[in-house]
């Protein structure tokens, strides 16, 4: 018996979400490959430089917003159902949020791809940050709003399951998988307030022409109210995998139940008040607020460093169960031939590297050296592009058999996949970081100086070597992506059917829930505290921005 046999309805929902996620991953990943060749001038035959921004928007929206949201929904349906031991309460409701998100996704994708049709008025080349006064077609904003509303309904679905379970189990502690899900979604509710106000209150009326002028700084600030917490919305499900599943894959047990809960609580509290750290270089926001955001951001290092400890401690415990010895020799006893483990472990290593460049980004004045340079995409291709995406791909090798009742096919290809992703990303991202230090900008089809005969001056290495590492790294990543899709599709369609296609048992933590203080499960308390911290960080600067009128000083819309 595995998941699909016990919970056939939930398995179907999870699988439907994974299908959308993987389609978005395939298209968005292919766009990324084209961009890597185009902006390095290795091959510019796919699109012209004006159309590049359409692909860049597609890459960002499909991967950062659509792939992640759908995969997370599929993962959480699995975890909530399994840990509470109950199917979703009402399948019509569950499918309604899924289809709402799908329709929203199709609308947004349609407006973006419209940019590839010559002279099309349906365009949305506004990138995934969609800063006004660049304006997209209204269907772009409405589609994205539908995805977010769908995700709210999904979260409500899991709270509904939890409250029914609570009725039946009044004295039990929240099972850890559900705990991590619910706290992630509480954080999501807090941070999407900013996005909802921006999109529904400002951008939709403006894109429909009901108001003409818009003040650029206010929507930008509301976007970043949401925009850094969304990073943790991607990352916390990866942490969920590292806490709940990675220890098991290494042959051991989770190190500490209470520390896991504390880490998720800190993320709920601190994820949103840090948004100004994306606006260190913005005029119109006082240095004091930037400083507050900087200090909060640095505090967020704590839960990530604690996660580093737990992940390594759990893996060491696992390796020692398998006969590992010594301070470092145990590493060789880890299951380096299991694709699910390898993907998660390599993703964790990349996250440590991404964390270091993140500390530079967080350092308010040091940040100016790399603000909006290609260092930034170099950084987040380590965090979201590897720590999150590779973890999701890796855990798919373990989840898919549970959701389909079929064994994984092509295990060798599945094993090559995470190693090749790691290699491709190492090449691409180290070059992006170094090019960023020389001042090479992000978000551009042609970073070279064209008219002024200037050159970027690298501190280390040469421009041409970095260019080739980006192009070759991007190509290896595309190959790795194709391997992943090939393994998933063939296992899904033709894997050998089995009653127990994978070992899906998750052992108890070393330091279990009996050591965990009850206050950690008090969701109302932590949610209220999170709201207070957001009000402290945002109320005064937002008030300053809207005092002279919500749409003033106003700028006119420009076509994207």
């Amino acid at each position: 018996m595995t998941f699909i046999h016990k919970y056939p309805k939930a398995a179907k929902v999870s699988k439907a979400n994974f299908i959308v996620a993987f389609i978005a991953l395939a298209i968005g990943g292919f766009f990324g490959f084209i961009q890597a060749l185009h902006r390095t001038d290795v091959f510019r035959g796919f699109v012209n430089s004006g159309e590049y921004y359409t692909l860049l928007t597609g890459h960002g929206v499909l991967l950062a917003l659509i792939f992640t949201t759908f995969f997370i929904a599929g993962l959480f349906v699995w975890g909530v159902t399994r840990s509470l031991d109950r199917e979703p309460e009402n399948m019509a409701y569950t499918w309604s949020w899924f289809w709402l998100m799908v329709i929203g996704t199709v609308m947004a994708a349609f407006t973006i791809l419209g940019g590839l049709v010559p002279d099309s008025s349906i365009r949305a080349a506004v990138l995934y940050t969609f800063y006004p006064p660049l304006q997209a077609h209204p269907a772009f904003y409405i589609g994205l709003a539908m995805v977010v509303v769908g995700s709210w309904m999904a979260a409500a679905d899991w709270f509904w399951s939890y409250s029914k379970w609570r009725d039946d189990n009044p004295t039990e502690r929240i099972p850890i998988l559900s705990f991590m899900t619910l706290f992630t979604m509480l954080m999501w509710y807090v941070c999407t307030i900013g996005l909802a106000i921006e999109v529904v209150g400002l951008l939709i009326p403006w894109s429909l022409g009901w108001v003409v002028e818009i003040e650029p700084l206010l929507p930008r600030t509301l976007f970043w109210f949401f925009g850094h917490a969304v990073v943790y919305f991607w990352l916390l499900p990866a942490y969920y995998v590292w806490y709940a599943i990675l220890p098991k894959l290494s042959g051991g047990r989770l190190f500490s139940d209470s520390m896991t809960r504390i880490v998720f609580i800190i993320f709920l509290l601190l994820s949103t008040p840090v948004g100004y750290h994306h606006q260190y270089a913005d005029a119109g926001i006082s240095v004091g607020f930037k400083f507050y955001a900087m200090a909060t951001t640095m505090m967020l290092l704590l839960p990530s460093l604690m996660t580093l400890f737990t992940v390594i401690a759990s893996m060491e415990h696992g390796a020692k169960q398998r006969g590992g010895k010594g301070y470092f020799a145990w590493i060789s006893k880890l299951p380096w031939n299991n694709p699910a483990f390898v993907g998660c472990a390599l993703a964790g290593i990349m996250f440590a590297a991404g964390g270091f460049s993140g500390m530079i980004n967080a350092g308010m004045n040091i940040n100016l050296l790399i603000h909006n340079t290609i260092w930034i995409p170099g950084h987040f291709h380590l965090t979201v592009g590897t720590a999150v995406a590779l973890t999701f791909m890796a855990v798919t090798y373990w989840l898919l058999p549970q959701l389909t009742g079929r064994k994984l096919k092509f295990k060798t290809l599945a094993l090559i996949q995470p190693y090749s992703w790691f290699l491709g990303m190492t090449l691409m991202s180290n070059a992006m970081h170094r090019a960023g230090l020389a001042g090479v900008p992000r978000r551009t089809a042609e970073p070279e100086f064209n008219t002024n005969a200037m050159n970027f001056e690298p501190i280390f290495g040469t421009m041409s070597e970095m260019k080739w590492q980006i192009a070759i790294g991007g190509t290896i990543l595309l190959i790795s992506l194709i391997l992943f899709l090939w393994v998933v599709i063939s296992s899904w369609m033709a894997g050998q059917k089995s009653e127990k296609p994978v070992d899906d048992h998750i052992p108890e933590p070393l330091s279990g829930v009996e050591h965990t203080p009850a206050i950690l499960d008090n969701m109302k308390l932590w949610f209220a505290l999170a709201l207070i911290l957001v009000v402290l960080a945002y109320s005064f600067p937002l008030w300053e921005m809207i005092q002279d009128g919500i749409f003033s000083p106003g700028a006119l819309p420009r076509p994207s």
Binding site: Y53, A281, A283, A438, S552, L556, S560
Partner: protein
């Protein structure tokens, strides 16, 4: 609550690291004058002609008995004015303050490879001060996506020795 002694040690170490990072930022602010742009002035982006930005370019001012320079720059789809058609020329070893705004969409104003790097936001004026230590040329890059020809938006800053600085091009 049970916390393993190694984990206790690790958490203390983490707090130390966090304190160190925050201290390093403050040290930069206080001792090295590494500041970030703040809230200087809002402006009507559709009527820049009635503001200081009507005449963009380099101006000479006297502050505390010292000769300094102010540079007013408009960032527009898809040029810096001045900067793209003609370079911004300033002397070395002198305080230079940039005032930057945009009449249309968001842009970036980045002297490639340096920390002179700010957003140009319609409705806001970014103010930043620096001293260029020696004569050399810097490329200006727009590092925020601003429309279909974003990648051609670039300019130049030319830092010349104080003795060779030609004051005939200054804006009055």
């Amino acid at each position: 609550m049970h916390i393993h002694k190694f984990e206790r040690f690790w958490i203390k170490l983490s707090f130390g690291l966090i304190a160190f990072f925050i201290a390093s930022v403050i040290y930069g602010f206080v001792s090295m004058d590494l500041k970030v742009v703040g809230d200087y002035q809002t402006i009507d982006p559709q009527n820049l002609g009635e503001t200081e930005f009507a005449k963009t370019g380099v101006r000479e001012v006297t502050k505390n008995g010292q000769t300094e320079y102010e540079v007013y720059v408009k960032t527009m789809q898809f040029a810096f004015q001045p900067g793209t058609a003609s370079p911004i020329v300033v002397p070395a070893n002198t305080r230079v303050t940039f005032y930057i705004t945009s009449p249309d969409v968001l842009h970036g104003f980045d002297l490639a490879g340096t920390n002179i790097n700010t957003m140009a936001i319609p409705g806001q004026v970014a103010k930043l001060t620096t001293i260029f230590p020696e004569p050399r040329e810097y490329g200006i890059v727009c590092n925020e996506y601003c429309g279909p020809a974003h990648h051609i938006m670039e300019g130049k800053v030319k830092v010349v020795p104080k003795s060779e600085f030609d004051k005939s091009n200054l804006v009055q």
